[in-house]
């Protein structure tokens, strides 16, 4: 079974977020980035488990500049066999999906995994776009996946519940929490990662489908109003009269 896992980077979850005074750019100085948790904890690990059970190879692909090689090395340390980096700085999901789509057309992958979304911009767009470019099924928000008799059986998250779906391969799957258990890279993995191939490929460079024009900070809360724990009638009154929510 040949599997491609799309990996992205995102600011570390506790990183303070701030913008330049003109609101045009994110301040990235001193920002720590991590491998997007959905890609790392769930997509990559489930891909490795499927390979361990059925043979084959797990490749990872990242669309981004050389500065991001560190997150690619982490994916290799966790156990991916080979990595590809498309050398460009994507502006949106479409630029990412076009690169991955063009690459995947040249290779026969049975499953293409992505995370359900990146934590920073929460687009959840890349996987559907790749599926559309390749003309294959797309199972989103998978939190359980089995390979049975040449087919994929998935459980996916839907509004207020779950759905069990059967799909043929090849297909694109976006990974949600529960699909696998996080693996911590060990010393041997980290050493081996240094010798694994990290191939750099030239980009297609399509134009983006969205334009980000600026940022602002969310409105601050004006401060907490403390209510006597003995007097919940007062809280109810405020929720009714002031907040107007009940």
């Amino acid at each position: 079974m040949n599997i491609l896992v799309c990996i992205s980077k995102t600011p570390e979850t506790t990183a303070p977020i701030d913008f330049t005074p003109d609101g045009k750019e994110l301040k990235t100085e001193g920002m720590n980035y991590i491998l997007n948790p959905y890609d790392e904890w769930y997509a990559l690990v489930r891909a490795l488990e499927l390979k361990e059970q059925n043979g084959g190879a797990v490749h990872v692909i990242h669309v981004g500049p050389a500065a991001n090689d560190i997150i690619i090395r982490k994916a290799l340390a966790i156990g991916a066999d080979e990595a590809y980096r498309v050398d460009c700085d994507p502006k949106d999901a479409w630029m990412v999906a076009s690169e991955v789509g063009a690459f995947a057309k040249e290779h026969a992958y049975d499953i293409i995994f992505t995370g359900k979304e990146t934590l920073d911009y929460a687009g959840a767009l890349v996987p559907g776009m790749i599926a559309e470019l390749l003309g294959v099924p797309f199972i989103s928000f998978a939190n359980h996946l089995e390979y049975e008799n040449g087919k994929i059986i998935c459980q996916r998250e839907i509004e207020g519940g779950y759905e069990e779906v059967e799909a043929p391969m090849p297909l694109v799957v976006s990974a949600a929490k529960g699909l696998a258990e996080q693996r911590i890279p060990n010393m041997r993995g980290i050493m081996m990662a240094k010798r694994k191939p990290l191939n750099v490929i030239e980009p297609q460079c399509v134009s983006p489908k969205q334009t980000l024009t600026g940022y602002e900070k969310p409105p601050q809360r004006t401060g907490v109003k403390l209510i006597d724990p003995e007097n919940m009638d007062e809280l109810v009154r405020l929720l009714h009269e002031e907040a107007k929510v009940i």
């Binding site: 913008f19 519940g161 069990e164 980000l212 209510i227 003995e230 929510v245």
Partner: protein, 320 residues
């Protein structure tokens, strides 16, 4: 024309779709165009959508659309959009909408954005749209061509407005092949509004001590008609189901009211809930970081405060 894809459960139109229609009407007014609703599958009271802004409601019914398949749903929406010359397609920011937006944008060669919570006007031919980014730590402004755009709208971002009168309902014939995916089973929690759509959410964390204590949270939620949620460790320990986990790595929500009991307010938790319109925090530790992000705070033991709050609401409801 602006096309709004209607979401429904048990033939009942969901509130998120009424919100999307209300927004579509607003945008259409500025663009001088009309609004159409599209329902895949039969719904009750399709004509009622006219009251929220639809000029027409198209209903598509086909055996190959009887369960969700992203390829077929995308194809059906594209067929309607092309035939009716839709310039903008609005979906809801639900698992269905999110599963379609990317495919649909590629198929219709449209600009695309997910998780929109504000329409900030037009700039020439461009729609100006805002969405929370970095898990609510920022808001980003985007521009999409108003002549070709697809976006998903977050729940509770717009107040649905009943303005007009009923609209005509037309069935629309599409061609779709046998789906490649097969839905084997659907497991839906009965009777509760799904978290991303809920107007009121009652949430609890590790301060609850154990899953056996959740009765008081459920009683409060029942009294408010709220949906329940939890912090991540609570889901990780299997005290509560995973689909209740909110936060940066869980579901991001923006209800009108979020009540958090026994949750410390770690940055990753706040990330998923701080776009809630009103936040009430109940915690016995006055130093809990959540109080800084709250509108109303109660410093006290949740095992006493929560039942007292439930009682106060019950009393309020019976006197109104």
């Amino acid at each position: 024309m602006i096309l709004v894809v209607i979401e429904h459960a048990d033939k009942t139109v969901k509130k998120v779709s009424l919100e999307a229609l209300t927004l579509a009407k607003d945008i259409a007014g500025k663009l001088g165009t009309g609004v159409a609703a599209l329902s895949i599958g039969a719904i009750d009271g399709a004509g009622q959508l006219g009251k929220y802004g639809a000029d027409t409601c198209f209903v598509v019914e086909h055996e190959n659309l009887s369960s969700f398949d992203s390829t077929n749903y995308t194809s059906a929406i594209t067929q309607v959009a092309k035939a009716k010359d839709a310039s903008i397609v609005i979906l809801s920011h639900t698992s269905t909408g999110k599963s379609l937006a990317g495919r649909l944008a590629v198929q219709t060669d449209a600009g695309v954005l997910t998780g929109v919570n504000q329409f900030a006007g037009l700039e020439g031919e461009q729609l100006v749209l805002k969405k929370p980014v970095f898990a609510g730590k920022g808001i980003a402004t985007y521009q999409l061509r108003a002549t070709k755009a697809v976006f998903t709208l977050m729940g509770n971002a717009v107040q649905p407005k009943e303005l007009g009168s009923e609209c005509p309902v037309e069935s629309f014939a599409v061609e779709v092949a046998t789906p490649q995916t097969k839905v084997l089973k659907i497991d839906r929690v009965k009777g509760k509004v799904p978290l991303p759509e809920a107007e009121i959410v009652v949430s609890a964390g590790r301060g609850m001590k154990g899953p056996e204590n959740w009765g008081i949270i459920e009683e409060l939620a029942d009294e408010l008609g709220a949906t329940t949620a939890c912090s991540r460790p609570v889901a990780d320990m299997d005290w509560r189901p995973h689909n209740e986990h909110v936060g940066q790595t869980g579901i991001a929500i923006s209800p009108n009211l979020y009540i958090a009991a026994g949750i410390s307010g770690a940055i990753q938790h706040l990330a998923g809930v701080n776009s809630s319109k009103n936040i009430v925090v109940i915690n016995k530790d006055p130093e809990a970081p959540f109080f800084k992000a709250a509108d109303y705070g109660v410093v006290g033991d949740l095992f006493e405060v929560v039942p007292r709050l439930t009682e106060a609401i019950r009393k309020y409801k019976s006197s109104h």
